[in-house]
């Protein structure tokens, strides 16, 4: 073994000292021969005989040297180096070709690498600062199979009974207003379990994380760990920060730690600025103290499995535990389970919203890569034609075909290696590009970084090799067809569209056209779907209604003070010029937060045994329906009189009325919510609550006054713009309390647009890449047509001489180009019909076979190919018949 390595090392060393060793060899052999000649002379031979005899007994000198060289170095590496040098020289000699080819590959490989890095950074390894992400899984509750949040007591019970889980990590995103000095702004943070920092292996750079027990006790531990950005930005990197205090939601918290740079929390998409232990939950969560309420489901959680434990094993154990909870606490847990998810499927953050888009992107970039490869393949073909003479000569003087193929593949490798290097650069620049596609929203720092780690690098290298193989294949096919005798005769010029080589090139163009057609169809479908979503009525007015809120909880208002503030503000706002009506409501439809859901009972409704009827609801003030533009089908809306002293009332939506009262008018009927009976006084039309794509679902409303919440949104019906309204509103708020800030004022349309941002991102990305693909395909078509024209000047000249006019030639070339396009479109349409189903999830009310999308893709493709053929066609008409025929 040692000998083997010694040999190998000496051989590698020899590669670098070739010239010296070569001189040594010459000298040694010369000495040998001289000695032999001398000896022979001594034996009495003539000078000539002595020399001949010496050479004879030596054997071939050159052959010996060749054997010696093979033994000395590593022949394979040496020829490869030779190929590399030669390849680089060839590329330098035709810089136009090289730059175009490398550019195409850079785009192709770069698109792949960028999407890989997003997939890695957002789905698979979203938290770079967290150790052993492969053992980290998301945990949610399930209700009738659907993902739901979990409750604190449930989680504590799981923690006690699961042996395969190393740690349960609680994290719940929340927002607060941070006032430092005279600046106040909204910021996001997390409510976490005390084990949070230890369990994810993140160590604060200053101070400490949370200590065991700090998540216990109602409001018992007002401590916080702040993010590095917050420390550097708002606290100016104060080295004495530990032990200082900061008001969070009006409670003084002691800063106990500063998280390390590059740690943004564990919520895909948004950067967290501070963390508080779960004991402070009541202070940050709107609807009260929940740590002892098994029915209050508010927790987002992760688990870290013990080393070697698989998802399936852990799920089995946890499901068994959930079953026991169901049996033990039927009132709250009937029909509920617990489910683990791989990080990339995490249901409660932006991984979930981006997953379908990124899946589509993975397919799209493969298309772009193929198109880029086809383009470069075409370029290589042209060159292989130009290099045919070189190849023939090399074959004729004895190069093996294998050696020629190796040369061609090496050249392909050089191209794709440059392309890959450029592509990684592109991916590096695009790391943060995804964030730019999302509409900005006040107070939330979006954070969607691409991650270029070894897995992305390996995958990109794989793509590069694939590209190399594809690239090498084309000229290799051509080379294997070279026949020596034929090649010595000059080639006759091709006919437009004829000849074997032209066939390969045309095939490549057809493939390109078909691939970009598929992408165009996809982009068209997504665009149409986005338009449907945008123009679809969500069941409330999107124009002429503004939405804002005043952070009363953060300002330390208690319930009575908040109530009188709301009343006071409402009066003032209604008195503003241009305001038609205004109302408070706890949750904004289509906002980020989830509506609370509650168990209900209805007189005369017998639920099936496995179902615990639970319905989502909203707490809204008087005039809410009029302000939002949600029509009432029957009954009345809430009045000022529906306050804490009056009888409890509720408004249900149409779907709820139909489901629980079976079509009977529910007005005057009773519904039980959280043990309290309410009388239904109105039926509202269905609208969209959580997502514009949801199907109609049961929903009800209760008066804000009878279910008070200090955090509530303010809705204003007015024709005025948000900007105008902001000034007026800020003045009114300031007049009531100088310390209060105002959240941003936006239209409900803006709210809808924000909720559809994943669709918008998908459209933008597929659109951009579809455009790129179209450009590449157009370049490819242009290349093929102009080459065909340049190769068939003789034929064109002949046709002209025989009386063909310019328009005939123009038609001839255009027809040829369009024939290729048509072939590509037909192929592409067939492929698209099969593939667009994959868009399924992203499409809203658009058939995957939508004729409009296919039609417009066809039109765009035709226009692009006409543009690509026009210049070559025009050049064809400029053929000089006399010269063409003489050549």
């Amino acid at each position: 073994m040692r000998e083997f390595f010694g040999t190998f090392i000496r051989r590698v060393m020899a590669l670098f000292r070739r010239r010296r060793l070569e001189d040594d060899l010459d000298e040694e052999l010369r000495t040998h021969l001289e000695m032999a000649v001398e000896l022979n002379l001594g034996k009495g031979m003539s000078a000539e005989d002595a020399r001949r005899e010496a050479l004879r007994s030596f054997g071939g000198v050159e052959q010996t040297k060749e054997n010696y060289r093979d033994q000395r170095g590593l022949p394979m590496i040496e020829t490869t180096l030779q190929d590399l040098r030669f390849g680089l020289r060839m590329l330098r000699r035709s810089p136009g070709f090289s730059i175009l080819a490398i550019l195409c590959l850079t785009l192709g490989i770069g698109a792949n690498a960028a999407v890989f890095s997003w997939v890695e950074g957002i789905l698979f390894r979203p938290y770079p600062a967290v150790v052993h992400q492969e053992q980290l899984f998301a945990l949610t509750g399930t209700a009738l199979g659907e993902a739901d949040l979990t409750s604190w007591p449930d989680l504590l019970d799981l923690q006690r009974s699961c042996t395969l889980v190393d740690s349960f990590i609680v994290t719940k995103i929340m927002g607060t207003t941070l006032s430092i000095g005279d600046r106040a702004e909204v910021t996001t943070g997390s409510i976490v379990s005390a084990n949070y920092f230890d369990a994810i292996g993140v160590h604060p750079i200053l101070g400490r994380g949370f200590e065991p027990g700090e998540d216990l006790g109602r409001n018992a531990h007002p401590v916080t760990v702040i993010s590095y950005q917050l420390w550097k930005g708002r606290f100016k990197g104060d080295p004495q920060i530990i032990g200082k205090t900061q008001r969070l939601n009006n409670v003084v918290h002691t800063i106990v730690g500063v998280a390390p740079e590059g740690f943004y929390g564990t919520f895909v998409g948004w950067a967290m600025q501070f963390w508080v232990p779960a004991s402070m939950e009541e202070n940050f969560e709107a609807s009260g103290y929940k740590l002892e309420d098994r029915g209050a489901r508010w927790i987002e959680a992760y688990v870290r499995l013990k080393p070697g434990v698989t998802l399936a094993q852990a799920q089995q154990e946890i499901s068994a535990a959930a079953k026991r909870l169901e049996a033990e606490y039927p009132a709250t847990n009937r029909g509920r389970g617990i489910k683990l998810w791989p990080l990339w499927q995490t249901p409660f953050n932006n991984a979930n919203t981006l997953l379908p888009t990124l899946e589509i992107m993975l397919a799209v970039v493969v298309f772009v890569l193929l198109i880029a490869c086809a383009n470069v393949g075409n370029l290589l073909l042209v060159r292989s034609f130009a290099r045919r003479h070189e190849m023939t000569v090399r074959l004729a003087i004895g190069a093996g075909r294998g050696r020629l193929l190796k040369q061609l593949f090496t050249e392909g490798l050089i191209l794709s290696a440059f392309g890959a290097a450029g592509g990684l650069l592109v991916a590096h620049w695009c790391r943060h590009a995804l964030v730019l596609l999302f509409p900005a929203r006040g107070g939330v720092a979006m954070h969607l970084p691409g991650e270029i780690d070894w897995r992305v690098l390996a995958l990109s290298a794989g793509v590069c090799l694939l590209a190399t193989l594809l690239l090498g294949l084309v000229p290799a096919m051509q080379t294997s067809k070279i026949d020596l005798a034929g090649a010595l005769k000059s080639d006759s010029a091709g006919v437009v569209g004829g000849g074997g080589r032209a066939w390969v090139r045309s095939g490549l163009v057809v493939v390109q056209v078909s691939l970009s057609f598929v992408l165009l169809v996809g982009a068209g479908l997504l665009l149409q779907s986005l338009q449907r979503i945008r123009t679809m009525s969500p069941g409330f007015s999107t124009h002429g209604v503004l939405d804002t809120s005043v952070p009363l909880v953060a300002a330390g208002y208690d319930a009575p003070r908040a109530q009188s503030f709301q009343d006071e503000l409402l009066n003032r706002v209604k008195a503003l010029p241009g305001v038609e009506s205004a109302a408070f409501g706890r949750m904004t439809p289509l906002g980020y937060g989830s509506f609370s859901s509650t168990a209900i009972a209805v007189d005369g409704y017998q639920p099936p045994p496995e179902e615990q009827p639970a319905v989502q609801y909203n707490e809204v003030g008087p005039d809410y329906f009029a302000t939002m533009g949600i029509p009432l089908v029957s009954g009345r809306e809430f009045r000022r009189a529906d306050d804490e002293k009056a009888a409890l009332v509720a408004v249900v939506n149409e779907t709820m009325a139909a489901k629980y009262w079976g079509g009977k008018n529910p007005i005057g009927e009773r519904v039980q919510v959280k043990g309290r009976w309410m009388q239904v006084v109105g039926v509202a039309k269905d609208s969209k609550y959580q997502s514009v794509r949801e199907t109609p679902k049961p929903f009800f409303y209760v008066p804000l006054r009878q279910n008070f919440s200090r955090s509530a949104g303010l809705y204003i019906r007015t024709p005025l713009s948000p900007e105008t309204m902001t000034t007026a509103l800020a003045r009114e708020v300031h007049a009531l309390d100088g310390n209060l800030a105002l959240y941003e004022v936006i239209t409900l349309q803006e709210q809808v647009d924000r909720s559809t941002s994943p669709q918008q991102v998908a459209v933008t990305l597929v659109g951009v890449l579809g455009g790129l693909a179209l450009l590449l395909a157009t370049i490819g078509l242009y290349g093929v047509m102009s080459y065909a024209v340049s190769q068939s000047t003789r034929e064109l000249g002949l046709r002209m001489a025989l009386g063909a006019g310019a328009s005939n030639l123009l038609r001839l070339v255009l027809a040829r180009g369009l024939a290729l396009t048509t072939g590509g479109v037909l192929l592409g349409a067939a492929v698209a019909l099969g593939l667009t189903r994959l868009l399924g999830n992203l499409l809203y009310k658009v058939s995957p076979r939508d004729p409009l999308a296919f039609g417009s893709a066809f039109v765009v493709m035709t226009i692009a190919s006409l543009a690509a053929c026009l210049l070559p066609a025009w050049r064809a008409t400029r053929t000089d018949p006399a010269r063409a025929l003489r050549e």
Binding site: E3, G6, T7, R10, R11, D24, L25, E27, E28, L29, T31, H32, E34, M35, A36, E38, L39, S57, F58, G59, G60, V61, Q63, T64, N67, Y68, D70, Q71, R72
Partner: protein, 111 residues
């Protein structure tokens, strides 16, 4: 005229070179070739050229070492000498060879 010359058996050249260097001390390539031919009484047909890749191979394995020196006729020549590893290798290979030839002889005698 003696009977026809034998080709050098595959793999035995290494052994011959090692043995030569062992008994003669450091030598240059031509010397080694000459010596092998003398000792074999010219019965061995050796293309002297094939010696050089063999020398390189032995050197790469660390069994012999080379050094430029000056020959008796005042020529610059590369001298090869046996290393310690080479001496050990020679012992093993000689033993192998002995076993092998004894066995072949036995086979030839019995049949």
């Amino acid at each position: 005229m003696p009977t026809s010359k034998s080709e050098v058996l595959q793999g035995t050249l290494d052994l011959l070179v090692l043995k030569t260097l062992d008994s003669m001390g450091p030598m240059h390539g031509f010397g080694i070739a000459l010596r092998i031919q003398q000792v074999s009484e010219d019965l061995l047909q050796l293309n002297q050229g094939t010696l050089y890749p063999a020398l390189l191979r032995l050197e790469q394995r660390g069994w012999i070492a080379s050094k430029w020196g000056v020959s008796e006729n005042n020529r610059k020549a590369k001298y090869y000498s046996l290393t310690r590893a080479g001496r050990k290798q020679l012992g093993e290979e000689a033993e192998n060879w002995g076993r092998m030839s004894a066995m072949i002889n036995r086979v030839l005698r019995t049949s």
